[in-house]
């Protein structure tokens, strides 16, 4: 329809005009972009660091990958397990809805290096029968883990702390002999910068001094996802707690957010970044509009409708915000990439959540900046232009 075609062309022309007015004022456009880019960069960087820390904190949960974890009710993070007696494993295995259940050991130990120094390590003891939760091997055969003193080492950023062991390398763990029978890769490294060794559950509890109860977690495979609530109820009745993988990761994140001050710090820094962006872009954009106020009045006098002026301003604000968002995200990704080149275990990761949070804040910055400008432009009367 001709009406629609004209409307579209008019919008195109007005937006082009808005674009020219914006980008031709290089000083203000640069200041606007800089403000928003800087704010997005900070917001992205802070939330990415936090996401990275959260991800690393839940690394064992992610790497093992079990859908349901049974644990002592006081456990808040994966690294602070409380041993459970053997009957818990038997009880869980007999629960309705459980396909199978296996024990998992997770603990720390000291490895004596060839130079006589000691290196702390994380030891994961997998169920002897099923090796449920085993990592993906890069070298070696998984069945060699059953060989005498067999351990699989994770080849991640912390690998070198064990003097880059090869297949057959020997080490001493709590005065026990250990042999590297495989190297593996995992999805996520741990938070505390410790190398990780996998072995069987029985060897882990044999090598590492433990309290009376040795099962750190019982990993449960439900018959179907619908059985999870029922299993949780039965575990609850037993005096323990069952958490899904996602719940356990959230519990770990909540611990860092609410019980370590990390969440508050992140919130404060993100809010400061937001305010920096808002104040720079809001003030610059408002000044930009003020500088052109009489011309906007002249446009009104010529015959431009108020809603078209509003569209122009919204376009300018959106264009600046989206460009700044892209540059800010790009700068953040680049910095994290560079940091990871130097420090492979660098705990920062860009998630869809970070992107969404920063985007939402940029939208708020653009909306707040344009709101003041739109109010000002709508108030200008063409008659004032004639009066001078």
């Amino acid at each position: 329809m001709p009406q629609t075609r004209q409307g579209k062309q008019l919008m195109k022309g007005i937006l082009k005009l808005a674009y020219k007015l914006l980008v031709n004022d290089q000083a203000k456009f640069s200041a606007l972009l800089l403000g928003i880019t800087f704010a997005v960069f900070l917001m992205m960087f802070i939330t990415s660091m936090f996401s990275g820390v959260m991800n690393h904190a839940s690394s064992t949960v992610i790497n093992i990958g079990a859908p349901l974890w049974v644990m002592d009710p006081t456990v808040e993070t994966i690294s602070n397990s409380v041993g459970m007696p053997d009957y818990v494993l038997d009880a869980v295995r007999s629960m309705q809805g459980v396909k199978y259940a296996v024990p998992l050991y997770s603990g720390g130990a000291l490895v004596k290096l060839s130079d006589g120094n000691y290196q702390s390590v994380t030891v994961i003891g997998l169920d002897d029968t099923s090796l449920y939760g085993r990592p993906e091997l890069i070298e070696g055969k998984i069945q060699d883990i059953y060989a005498e003193n067999g351990f699989v080492v994770v080849r991640d950023a912390e690998f070198s702390k064990l003097e880059n062991p090869r297949l057959g390398s020997e080490f001493e763990l709590n005065d026990h002999r250990g042999v590297i029978v495989g190297t593996a890769r995992v999805a996520t490294s741990g938070l505390y910068g410790l190398p990780t060794l996998y072995t069987t559950y029985e060897r882990a509890i044999q090598y590492i001094p433990n309290p009376r109860y040795t099962i750190s977690y019982v990993l449960v495979e439900p018959k179907s996802p619908d059985d999870i609530p029922r299993i949780k109820q039965q575990v609850e009745a037993l005096g323990y707690r069952a958490r899904t993988k996602e719940e356990f990761m959230k519990n770990t994140a909540d611990f860092f957010i609410y019980k370590t001050g990390g969440g508050t710090n992140m919130l404060i820094m993100t809010a400061i970044s937001f305010l920096v962006g808002l104040s720079i872009s809001g003030q610059t954009f408002y000044t930009f509009i003020l500088e052109n106020l009489e011309r906007f009045g002249a446009l009104k006098a010529i015959g431009t409708k108020s809603r078209d002026l509003v569209r122009m301003i919204l376009f300018q604000a959106s264009f600046t915000a989206l460009t700044g968002y892209g540059l800010g995200v790009g700068a953040c990704v680049l910095l994290i990439w560079l940091a990871k080149v130097r420090l492979p275990s660098y705990a920062a990761m860009v998630t869809f959540g970070n992107l969404a949070i920063s985007f939402a804040m940029v939208v708020v910055i653009a909306a707040a900046s344009s709101y003041a400008a739109i109010r000002r432009v709508l108030r200008i009367e063409p008659f004032d232009i004639f009066r001078g």
């Binding site: 022309g13 446009l299 006098a301 010529i302």
Partner: protein, 231 residues
């Protein structure tokens, strides 16, 4: 019989209420034909600018009627009125109001862009009109690089680029020296005025009265007779 471009009758406009009430227009009626260059002259505060605003659909009168080319503009909706202004009226403002960050060609192209022409076409058309006002070689310059007279010519080019039937010039010589002002109005009279266009000029600069076809005098919100016949 010449066609009537403007017919205004019984225009009354006041500002404020009660003791603060100020009468700006007191029962003003006027007509202007196509082919005329009508001056509205008078001292500051006489109501010239208010009359201009009422005639162009910018300021609503308290009472009275304005017909432009036979259309009762104050009977139109806000959107219709804006469209009417864009299509039928060209404005030359006292301070030009050129966008400093747009080139002269881009400034001139604005009315075309606000209508439905695409950007490239509008710029080419604007360059033609810059040629008409003698500024073809200034198309790529920004207004700040132009003299006052040149800026005024750009404003005129912008006002006529969409070939409006009615051209409104508000104090067109206020920011110009005498010779430039005279040259500009001489140019307008010779090159912009034609039988299909009516030009209304608000001014109190008697050096340019020679270019009017008719002069209306305002005083204290009223048009004072008798009208003077211009050149």
């Amino acid at each position: 019989m010449p066609k009537k471009a403007i017919q205004a009758s019984g225009l009354v406009k006041w500002f404020g209420e009660g003791e603060a009430k100020t009468m700006a227009l007191r029962d003003v009626s006027l007509e202007a034909q196509f082919g005329e260059m009508v001056y509205i002259v008078g001292p500051s505060g006489s109501g010239k600018t208010t009359l201009l605003s009422v005639l162009t659909g910018i300021l609503k009168p308290n009472t009275g009627k304005v017909l432009l080319e036979g259309v009762d503009i104050w009977g139109l909706s806000a959107d219709q009125l804006a469209d009417f202004r864009l299509a039928k009226i060209g404005f030359v403002f006292q301070d030009y109001h050129l966008f400093p960050r747009l080139t002269t060609a881009e400034n001139v192209a604005i009315p075309l862009v606000l209508r439905d022409k695409n950007w490239g076409e509008s710029i080419r058309e604007a360059e033609k009109y810059l040629d008409i006002v003698g500024l073809k070689n200034r198309a790529e310059l920004y207004p700040v690089k132009l003299s006052g007279g040149e800026q005024q010519r750009v404003a005129i080019a912008r006002a006529i680029v969409d070939q409006p039937d009615i051209l409104i010039m508000d104090e067109p010589t206020a920011s110009l020296d005498g010779d430039t002002g005279v040259a500009i109005l001489s140019f307008v009279r010779k090159n912009v005025l034609n039988q299909d266009r009516c030009i209304v000029v608000v001014t109190h600069d008697d050096r340019i009265y020679q270019f009017a076809t008719r002069i209306l005098q305002m005083e204290d919100g009223r048009l004072k007779g008798p009208e003077k016949k211009g050149a």
